[in-house]
């Protein structure tokens, strides 16, 4: 058994490597936002905060990121739920049982490339539409990549996230023995709708909520996909921060730090809200 001093050292390492990293991010961002680090000549200033808080860029970017995250996550979960309910145990049979794991091996960079090749002006959908006689030229195809509404980002996120939720919901159904509970409900006279609304959905939602929070936060902070197939303006928050942190003109770097500071505080707040009930349980 490990000694208590070794235990304490291990817990300290854990705290530093997890909470410490996020704290470091907050400290560096705060220091950069008041001009202590970064920029051309480091010196204390509140100009970066004033610039960030007085222009709509940060708030627009945060709102846009939240909307994209919600627009990606909610339909993905709903779609996954419908797939699991409709396909049932077929999901575990070959070939789908194995194939469902493949999207887990799809990083953002590659997903963005596929989006360009399928959703882009000269992509597959456009080619199919042309072949069907709907389009005369690629320019007539609606902008689904690098569009201001973020349709391309949402579709790409959905394609990446939905299979994960299918696996998760299927796994939760097995772990919670939902089929047995549903059979019991039916034997006691419950209708199919009652089984769905009073047995399946409440149990699944209880299990899904924390995962959705983590995934929502990850989607809100996503980088590669919006960087590659997102519009220049508005940009998702991670892209906006990156743009300000690595500018041609170093004078706006402090604004990037201020945005990073707000981002860390906001997302840490969400984490805090999520982890409090978990800790109580």
């Amino acid at each position: 058994m490990l000694s208590s001093s070794t235990d304490r050292a291990a817990r300290l390492l854990f705290g530093v490597a997890t909470g410490g990293v996020v704290l470091l991010a907050l400290v560096v961002a705060a220091a950069g936002s008041v001009g202590i680090i970064g920029g051309i000549e480091p010196a204390f200033t509140t100009a970066h905060w004033l610039a960030v808080l007085s222009t709509p860029t940060l708030w627009l970017s945060l709102a846009y990121s939240a909307l994209i995250a919600m627009a990606s996550l909610l339909p993905s979960v709903l779609l996954a739920l419908l797939i699991v309910l409709a396909a049932g145990e077929r999901l575990r049979r070959a070939p789908l049982g194995a194939l469902l794991y493949l999207p887990l091996a799809f990083p953002g960079v590659v997903a963005a490339l596929v989006a360009v090749q399928v959703l882009g002006g000269a992509g597959w959908l456009s080619r199919i539409a042309h072949t069907a006689g709907v389009l005369a030229a690629p320019e007539e195809f609606p902008a689904l990549v690098q569009d201001r509404i973020g349709v391309g980002i949402v579709i790409t996120h959905m394609l990446m996230v939905t299979p994960f939720f299918v696996l998760l919901i299927d796994r939760l159904s097995t772990l919670e023995r939902l089929d047995a509970l549903a059979a019991l409900g039916r034997s006691l006279g419950a209708t199919s709708a009652q089984v769905l609304w009073t047995i399946r959905l409440p149990i699944l939602l209880r299990g899904l909520t924390p995962v959705c929070t983590v995934y929502g936060a990850a989607l809100l902070a996503s980088f590669e996909v919006p960087l590659l197939i997102g519009a220049q303006h508005p940009a998702m928050i991670a892209v906006e921060i990156d743009r300000h942190l690595h500018p041609l003109d170093l004078s706006t770097q402090g604004q990037g730090y201020a945005m990073a500071c707000v981002h860390v505080m906001l997302l840490t707040g969400i984490w805090w809200r999520m982890s409090r009930p978990a800790a109580r349980r």
Binding site: P103, H130, T209, V214, T268
Partner: protein, 265 residues
């Protein structure tokens, strides 16, 4: 009748989903092996290895893939070893659940921001922001992930087995070697694979910390895509996704116990 309709509907959904999953791989393969694929042709006019030779030209492909593999291997070993030891200490901690929740925190913050702060730390501590910096930065994230995975390992039974072995006079090393490591082999293998994948796929941290000097495979794919060279980007993407995809198919248990599933429990 109703049952037959439901069964047909389930089959249609299952096959539709299978096609949707395979489609991106087909798109990548068409892009990577197409000789000419002019608009509005639905399929390439011919096939060619040009993208592969371009990608491999001057050893650039081997360099990027090799660098990615070495970094990922080191990240995987470092993070899983650290997670294995610390997760045992967490498992017997008084505030176990609160500490486990802390392991989720790094996933709430954008890797761009994490990378930015670690880059400052590395610069100020004199460590050059090269491959070592990328390795360290990825290890922090991989470590948190590995700790989440390791939570599945430390059941009360396994901890009690360790206590019993200690009561019989076994040393700490003997408990690890004879009890905990054999019992946790499956979870450890899963953690090694998943942390390897996490590093292998990483773009954001490698970009921010590496500053363009550490060219990993995702960075090379990104460069090709940004330059509009879809063929080279597709070839690089296939190289990036196929090895983990094959591993996922061959050993599904490596991904079956998602840490996020544990979160929901």
């Amino acid at each position: 009748m109703i049952r037959a309709t439901a069964s047909r509907r389930a089959a249609v959904i299952a096959w539709g989903l299978a096609v949707l999953i395979v489609l991106p791989y087909a798109v990548l393969a068409f892009g990577a092996f197409a000789q000419q694929w002019r608009y509005p042709a639905l399929l390439p006019a011919g096939w060619s290895m040009r993208a592969w030779t371009a990608l491999a030209g001057g050893g650039a492909l081997l360099d990027a893939a090799g660098r990615s593999a070495v970094i990922a291997l080191a990240v995987s070993l470092l993070s899983v070893t650290a997670a294995l030891i610390t997760s045992q200490a967490l498992a017997i901690a008084r505030h176990r659940e609160r500490m486990q929740a802390l392991a989720l925190l790094p996933f709430f913050v954008s890797p761009v921001v994490i990378g930015m702060s670690l880059q400052q730390l590395l610069l100020r501590s004199g460590l050059d922001h090269g491959a070592l910096g990328v390795l360290l930065a990825q290890s922090f994230i991989a470590y948190a992930y590995a700790v989440l995975l390791m939570n599945a390992l430390w059941s009360p039974t396994l901890l009690a087995m360790g206590d019993a072995a200690a009561g019989l006079g076994a040393s700490k090393l003997a408990i690890w070697r004879e009890v905990w490591l054999p019992a946790g082999a499956g979870v450890i293998a899963m953690a090694l694979f998943q942390t390897f994948s996490l590093s292998w796929f990483d773009y954001a941290l490698a970009r921010v910390i590496g500053g363009g000097r550490v060219v990993t495979l995702p960075i090379r794919v990104f460069e090709a895509l940004s330059a509009g060279d879809l063929r080279v980007a597709s070839a690089g993407s296939l190289l990036l996704v196929l090895p983990p995809a094959v591993a996922f198919l061959l050993a599904r248990r490596l991904v079956a116990a998602s840490p996020l599933l544990k979160v929901s429990q």
